[in-house]
């Protein structure tokens, strides 16, 4: 046994897809996938793949950024574990998981097989939105069955179109056929998930990266990104850009360069929402060169999350945009936990007043509500919403000042 990893040669003689490890290996069907990426590099046991994933420094691409090897290692000690590949992508501004499943379904499914092998999971689920994503997965699975490509059976489960559908314990509930809502964390899913079995819920982009790491090795994976956050991420770049869409970019790319990938801004941009609706705003004036990585965004109180980058044009009122988002988040509460069920609609109403004609104590009242709901739910929906509200107050501080004087930058008088 040697420690070198076979590097499959793609058509054209280049060693694997380099600049875009995922989208560069897109394949319409299994025959093309075999030509580009070769067979599944089975490891016949858990140890080596977990070590490679650790060396690669792969982190979860679903938003939390947890080290993937630790989740794999925790599973490998449990009895009869279950794997769920998560493509619920409840974030309305995100399209990266659906895009990945439609363009590289076999890469994701290879990752499912390898993660199942590494954890000893005997069965797996692919949890995806109905429509193109789930259809692509079913089509790919039929081809793989016909070719006996897989070792572990994979069942497709359709995710409801709700913001919280992708929350780990909601994923477990949906997989069991129950309503996809979070549960109390006293019983973690890695100990007791699908039908009481230890369960690994892993984002589909993470699994696709895992497949590429298994193929090309940790060093190859580390050729892009930063030292601390290697590799690429799939970002949904949207809002005031010329060519909105899903782009694969290296960790650490400056925000301005990411916007250029999407054709550049199509109007002057005042702020960019990163990390989605539970994320935060980067003011364009100060954060133009901020590197898109957890470390690079930390000074701004933001994180890449699941890769949402939404440019807000200067012509829009930031407070109105934020109020719309908090209104949506309030409507997406699972309504199980009192502080969230009551506090989120109260925050939405308060921010709505701030976006209109607020009284002088409105900003303080809104801040109090954010502090009140923080950390008081079964999942992070109240915390994430509070974070977004605080970030909105900070990023649009000048706009708050205008509104307190009965004015608004979007409709100057």
């Amino acid at each position: 046994m040697t420690s070198t990893i076979a590097h499959p040669v793609v058509a054209g003689g280049v060693e694997g897809p380099t600049a875009r490890p995922l989208l560069g290996a897109a394949a319409a069907d299994l025959a093309e996938h075999r030509r580009i990426s070769g067979p599944i590099p089975w490891r016949d046991g858990p140890g080596r793949l977990v070590a490679d994933v650790q060396d690669a420094g792969l982190t979860g691409r679903g938003g939390a950024g947890f080290p993937t090897w630790r989740k794999l290692a925790a599973m490998a000690t449990g009895a009869d574990p279950v794997l769920v590949a998560n493509a619920a992508e409840g974030e309305p501004a995100s399209a990266k998981d659906a895009t990945l499943l439609t363009r590289c379904p076999h890469l994701v499914l290879d990752g499912v097989q390898l993660a199942a092998e590494a954890t000893g999971a005997g069965s797996a689920y692919l949890y995806a939105k109905p429509g193109p994503a789930a259809d692509a997965a079913r089509f790919a699975l039929a081809q793989r069955r016909a070719q006996a490509w897989d070792r572990v059976p994979v069942a497709v489960v359709e995710a409801p179109l709700t913001f919280l559908a992708g929350e780990e314990s909601a994923v477990v509930a949906a997989t069991e056929g129950r309503r996809a809502v979070p549960r109390d964390k006293a019983r973690p899913v890695y100990r007791s998930g699908v039908r009481g079995r230890p369960t690994l819920v892993q984002n589909v982009e993470t699994l696709a990266h895992l497949a590429q790491i298994a193929r090309y090795g940790a060093r190859w994976f580390r050729r892009t990104g930063t030292q601390d956050e290697p590799g690429t991420l799939l970002a949904t770049i949207t809002g005031a850009v010329t060519a909105p869409g899903v782009y694969e970019l290296p960790h650490g790319l400056p925000l301005s360069a990411a916007l250029e990938l999407a054709g550049g801004a199509d109007a002057p941009v005042q702020a960019v929402l990163v990390g989605g609706y539970h994320g935060g705003w980067l003011p364009m004036a100060t954060a133009r060169h901020a590197p898109l990585s957890r470390e690079g965004l930390r000074p701004y109180g933001c994180a890449p999350g699941a890769g949402v980058i939404m440019a807000l044009p200067r012509s829009a009122c930031g407070l109105r945009a934020a109020a719309g988002i908090v209104g949506y988040l309030a409507g997406q509460s699972a309504r199980q936990c009192g502080p969230c069920r009551n506090g989120l609609p109260a925050m939405a109403a308060s921010l709505g007043r701030l976006a209109g004609s607020p009284g002088p104590d409105q900003p303080a009242a809104l801040r109090r509500l954010a502090d009140l709901v923080d950390g008081r739910g079964a999942c992070h929906h109240p915390d994430g919403t509070a974070r977004f509200v605080r970030s909105s107050l900070l990023a649009f501080e000048a706009e708050v000042g205008l509104h307190l004087h009965g004015r608004c930058s979007a409709s100057p008088r």
Binding site: D184, G338, P339, C340, R376, A378
Partner: protein, 67 residues
Amino acid sequence: MSAGLHVDWTACAGRGVCVELLPELLERDPWGYPMPRGGPVVPDELEPHARRAVALCPRMALHLRPS
């Protein structure tokens, strides 16, 4: 060994029994749900009271955990 209070928010209905039994540690938020006055840690001398609050929660939503 000190213990901490944990609320299962999916079960809590804001009945307020715990707040009445543990006024030193808990108060009600504007909607009636329990809120820690300080941190979640229960001082040793209040632990028997905390155990009683856990036992009497009508929704079995309050838990005492080693912290």
